[in-house]
């Protein structure tokens, strides 16, 4: 069971990183970005294509990640340009369209057969007794922590962080005071696109490798972000890691392994029902 839980940590690290990105997007640019993992998937697939052109693996991955960041920035630009005053629902709908577009584009550009991703970090990092901890696991957990702490420090200790927080709370007021709303929003999109593309590229070799399955890692990542209420970075990280470990542990039991796919949905449903309980009560009255 411990082996399973630790094996799930790599996926948990990915959930945590994506959950942090989702939290930042919801807080700072008012979007639940359903295309967050699809951007990473697209970058990882591009890296395979670049590697086939005889680029070294690290360079191919770096190029794929950069393109992923640009694609993310482009989606951000579209929203900042045409939906600056729209509500979170309309803005998030654009990200659903982007998700579908990226999946379709992947089938067109890369074909319908799953690709084989080469691991950037092959092999184990260390063992504890009989339990092997891979390099991917170590890097993903570290990445989740570094991203969360780094974003927290950026938001609370830097001038640009102050501007981003102001923008998230009162976008119109911030703009009237000279905060460049459009530029900062696009920068957030580029930054989160870069982080998620890097995270997906690292983990992709250990995960399912077709575009749809990879893109729909957004579901457990959303569940993790929900645990932090799309506000708290620390809870998003804890939620992501815990969810990954739980899924890994469940996979160890044959009769329960199918349950691991339900866990994120279960968390989402329970969380939404719990947070909406007062609304329902008020309506009922």
């Amino acid at each position: 069971m411990l082996q399973g839980a630790l094996a799930g940590l790599a996926a948990g690290g990915l959930y945590a990183v994506i959950a942090v990105c989702l939290t930042l997007m919801a807080r700072l640019v008012r979007v639940v970005n359903f295309s967050q993992v699809a951007i990473g998937m697209f970058a990882a697939y591009l890296a395979v294509i670049f590697a086939e052109q005889h680029l070294p693996q690290w360079a191919a991955t770096a190029a794929g990640v950069c393109v992923g960041a640009v694609v993310s920035g482009l989606i951000g630009w579209i929203i900042a340009q045409w939906l600056p005053e729209a509500g979170i629902g309309a803005r998030s709908a654009v990200s659903v369209a982007s998700l579908l577009l990226l999946v379709s584009l992947s089938f067109i550009l890369f074909g319908s057969k799953p690709k084989t991703f080469k691991s950037l970090l092959p092999g184990p990092a260390f063992s504890v007794g009989n339990v092997v901890v891979t390099q991917v696991t170590v890097v993903m957990v570290a990445l989740a922590l570094v991203v969360a702490v780094g974003c927290h420090v950026l938001l609370t200790k830097s001038k640009i962080g102050t501007k981003l927080r102001a923008l998230s709370e009162r976008p119109t007021t911030a703009e009237l005071l000279g905060v460049p709303a459009k530029g900062l929003s696009i920068a957030v999109w580029v930054g989160t696109g870069l982080i998620s593309a890097a995270a997906v590229s690292i983990v992709a070799p250990t995960q399912t490798n077709d575009p749809i399955s990879l893109s729909f890692i957004i579901v457990p990542a959303s569940a993790a972000a929900l645990l932090g209420g799309f506000r708290r970075l620390d809870l998003a990280v804890v939620g992501g890691l815990a969810l990954g470990m739980l899924q890994g542990a469940l996979a160890q039991f044959e009769q329960m392994s199918v349950l691991r796919y339900w866990v994120p949905f279960l968390i989402i449903v329970v969380f939404l029902l719990w947070t909406q309980r007062k609304e329902v009560w008020d309506v009922a009255r």
């Binding site: 001038k159 102050t162 501007k163 927080r165 102001a166 709370e169 009162r170 119109t172 007021t173 911030a174 703009e175 009237l176 005071l177 000279g178 905060v179 460049p180 709303a181």
Partner: protein, 233 residues
Amino acid sequence: MNELILDDVSVSRGSGPVVSGVSLVVKPGSLLTLVGPNGAGKTSLLESISGIVSTSKGDMSLDGVPLGKLSRIKRSRLGLVHVEQGRTVFPSLTVQENLELTAKSPAGVDEALELFPELHKRRGSASGLLSGGEQQMVVLARAFAARPKYLLIDEMSLGLAPVVFLRLLPIIRHIADSGVGILMVEQFAQLALKIADEAIVVTGGRLTYGGPAEPLMADPALLHRAYLGIAEV
């Protein structure tokens, strides 16, 4: 020419025109009070100057630069600061951070705090936790820290006790005296007129009075006629 000029400006919103053919001039160092009944188009007029809404007709210029299709950011870079209705602090930001957002230097923060000594001891507090009056002080100090050339103030008194509003009025006058041109929308007409150099009354989107503030303050009947749209402009 160093003035904020509106020439025959009209503004339309979903239901139709809300401001029709309003012209006014705000000079540096002067305080122009804009009064009028609810729904007269006062807020829409300010929002058109800062670029929140577009004008449907007319011209605007700031120190000779046409505002036309300039974005809000560009207008703010020209020295235009709009203090919106309500207490528009950034709640999770501390008082210090609210001021740092607009101040060009640390000295700018200190100068802004000198206007409101009571904020000194609260500078590390989240501004969302302050009282309504203190929040409005933060908003005004933040606008001052930006070193504006022209300041648009919308309904500063909204939701404040009159005693708190009376505390803010001399500060607004002080800011004008420092060389800032101020256009202030206010419902407490008699209080606002006391500190104003000039006044305009807008009723039903149209200008019904424009001139010195003193006659309006001295003669409530004139103010009433202007509110009813029957005074001479």
